[in-house]
Amino acid sequence: MIPLAAYLVLSAALLAIGVWGALTRRSALGILMAIELILNAANINLIAFARHVRGVDATGGPMFALFVMAIAAGAAAVGLSIVICIYRNHRTVDVDRINLMKW
């Protein structure tokens, strides 16, 4: 069996890549993708713990991961539609050039 630590390292790496991506990307699409990476890092953790930690209900982890996936799909859909709207109005998805939310 693959040790728990391996999963955690993978997940931490994914998280780091995701956070790095979300902070540095300038394309809104790239940011959305990076956020998906972060969510998946969390999913790996959930499933790994459900599998390895004794005395935990083994179905809870995967179930929760499935919820995360479903909600991530919803969030991605909303995010993408926002991006499309922004693109239609501004002809760009470069977040450096969008400051609609400024006071």
Binding site: V19, T59, D96, N99, K102
Partner: protein, 630 residues
């Protein structure tokens, strides 16, 4: 393994599609042969765990038993030939490659359905085929009638699909499995019929009714003839509509234990066979005649399964696939060579102009009419024999249908190929070799496919099709049944020759006048479309309109009333607000404004800055937590 066959769409030129399905055939044929040729029912299975939920496990995989092997053979052979033919038929069409993409996807779905080892996988493939069928019927979507026909087919078969899905759920609930092998074991352990099982079987059969265009959901198939002719041959004659029959054969372990379900199946099949055979003689569109003939023959197969003649039903499925594919491709060649005119009343005398098409069509017509020793004779006779032993009324239905089949098929042949060409303006020509060669190969199959099931080869096919869970079903051969069916077929051919031959003895027009009500009913397909329009479509539309009106008047009225009263009270409050509340608010606002002048510098409006703040915050929190606990 097998499921991966045709799934090479995308880079879809005709050659790739043909090559893919040929490859599928090359892999499938030795496999089919190995399964069919071993004396004990050999099966190849392979599966993997797909989903596990609590203590329930869902496996999926492939199961190639003798019926599946037979279908693999039929589907790959006819599919490949039809695709070769299509490269000629569709040549020069702007959506040429899209056509082959759909056809390849369809082939993949069909092969997946054939080898699926559980109902769920079968259902998935079933839906893939339904989708492809919809795309291909509506392929000429510039024509509104084609688009409408696609929709109609999709919606009508969807009724059947819902039935199939409910049946699957009920079956899962009762038997706890959807895999065919486990179902067989389950049924062997529970020989007594229960209500839930019967309901499940009947619901599954509703799926068959939809897909195989059985009465009363047959209305979509004739309209489906709006699609390109090779598609009609592949999907709506040889393979997809046979999938419904195959579904019953696959779940036959259920049906054979449930007499009620069985007789329902048999009667639906018998009624369909006769009804479609009654409609066909009045149609003038060459493809519609073939469509009704297909419905009728499918009725035959369903009836065969209903009376317990498992092998005979599948045998007829195979022979029918060959000769009906041939008939449709022949009709396609006629239409192609006759400048896309489909009305038989304008044709005639094409025998000399299209000799190859004529010869192959003649063989197919003889085969479907049940003239010995061609393919249709053996399988049809087998079914009639089983019906004779199971239920006399069904046998009478079947025999009458056989006579009508011979009649309308020869009517088609005579009107198209004999006599004088009625519309002289059209210059007919023979099709290119890429279209005639598949015709010739299929003609060989149509002529010889019956032999493996004939007494001359010792009923080899019937023995090869045996599966372990099947109850033995032996019927005494009867010279009377066989003789009568040949006689009836002969009578049908004779009647057709008298009415539509080069020198007609009986005028069809006079006959139609004499039996005007019957003729009108037949011409209008027994008013099924009108009935559905009146009984289902229009009420649904009216309901929608009524609901809309309710919305418009009642709901909108209430909303408007509420709005008006709210507006009046708001007016009063507004005065109070303006002087008293606003003063307070403005004061508060002024304070906040002053404060925010400092803090709003953080609101840059740039996403990165917000995200950076969030990340920093999280890091800080993590650090404090660690600091506190450590």
């Amino acid at each position: 393994m097998l499921i991966l066959f045709g799934r090479r769409i995308g880079r879809a030129s005709g050659l790739v599609a043909v090559a893919a399905s040929t490859a599928a055939g090359v892999i499938a044929l030795p496999l089919a042969w190995r399964v069919l040729d071993t004396p004990e029912a050999a099966t190849l299975t392979w599966s993997f765990e797909w989903l596990r939920w609590g203590d329930q496990t869902m496996r999926m995989g492939v199961l190639v038993d003798p019926p599946a092997a037979l279908l693999l053979f039929v589907v790959t052979v006819t599919g490949t030939l039809i695709q070769v033919y299509s490269t000629g038929y569709m040549a020069g069409h702007p959506r040429y490659s899209r056509f082959f993409a759909y056809v390849s996807l369809f082939m993949a779905g069909m092969l997946g359905l054939v080898v699926a080892d559980n109902l769920l996988l079968l259902f998935v493939s079933w839906e893939i085929m339904g989708l492809c069928s919809y795309f291909l019927i509506g392929f000429f979507f510039e024509k509104p009638s084609a688009a409408a026909a696609g929709l109609k087919a999709f919606i009508t078969t969807r009724i059947g699909d819902v039935g199939l899905m409910l049946g699957m759920i009920l079956l899962w609930w009762t038997a706890g499995t959807l895999r065919f092998e486990e179902l067989a074991a389950f049924m062997a352990g529970h020989p007594v019929a229960t209500g839930a099982l019967t309901a499940a079987a009947l619901l599954i059969f509703v799926g068959t009714i939809g897909k195989s265009a059985q009465f009363p959901l047959h209305v979509w198939l004739p309209d489906a003839m709006e699609g390109p002719t090779p598609v009609s041959a592949l999907i709506h004659a040889a393979t997809m509509v046979a999938a419904g029959v195959y579904l019953v054969a696959r779940t036959f372990m259920l049906f054979q234990a449930l007499p009620v379900a069985c007789s329902a199946v048999a009667w639906v099949g018998g009624i369909t066979a006769l009804m479609a055979a009654c409609i066909a003689p009045a149609q003038t569109d060459i493809k519609r005649v073939l469509a009704y003939s297909t419905i009728s023959q499918l009725g035959y197969m369903v009836m065969a399964l209903g009376v317990g003649a498992y092998a005979a039903g599948l045998f007829h499925l195979m022979t029918h696939a060959f000769f009906k594919a041939l008939l449709f491709l022949g009709a396609g060649a006629v239409i192609h060579g006759f400048h896309h005119v489909q009305d038989m009343r304008q044709m005639g005398g094409l025998r000399r102009k299209m000799p190859v098409t004529f010869a192959t069509m003649a063989i197919a017509t003889l085969a479907i009419a049940g003239v010995p020793p061609l393919a249709g004779f053996w399988s049809k006779d087998e079914i009639l024999l089983s019906a004779y032993h199971a239920s006399r009324p069904l046998w009478v239905l079947g025999t009458v249908t056989a006579g009508l089949t011979a009649f309308y098929m020869f009517r088609l042949l005579l009107m198209t190929f004999f006599g004088e060409q009625r519309d002289k303006h059209i210059h007919a020509h023979e099709s290119p070799a890429v279209m005639t060669i598949p015709l010739v190969i299929l003609a060989v199959f149509a002529a010889l496919a019956g032999l493996p099931g004939s007494p001359w080869m010792g009923m080899w096919l019937q023995r090869a099709l045996h599966v372990p869970w099947l109850h033995p079903h032996e019927v005494e051969p009867s010279r009377f049944v066989m003789g009568l069916s040949v006689l009836v077929a002969g009578a049908g051919i004779g009647a057709a020759a008298l009415m539509y031959g080069p020198r007609p003895v009986i005028s069809p027009a006079r006959l139609a006048e004499r039996f005007a009500p019957v003729h009108r009913a037949s011409l209008n397909k027994f008013y099924f479309d009108e009935l559905y329009l009146a009984a289902v479509v229009n009420p649904a539309k009216r309901l929608a309109a009524a609901l809309w009106r309710t919305d418009q008047r009642l709901v909108d009225g209430a909303v408007n009333g509420a709005g008006l009263s709210a507006w009046l009270s708001a007016k009063a409050q507004g005065l109070f607000d303006k002087w008293v509340v606003d003063g307070l608010v403005n004061l508060a606002g002024a304070i906040v404004h002053a404060a925010s002048a400092v803090t709003r510098r953080a609101q840059t409006g740039l996403v990165e800055n917000y995200m950076l703040m969030a990340a920093t915050g999280v890091l800080a929190l993590a650090y404090f937590t660690w600091w506190n606990t450590g």
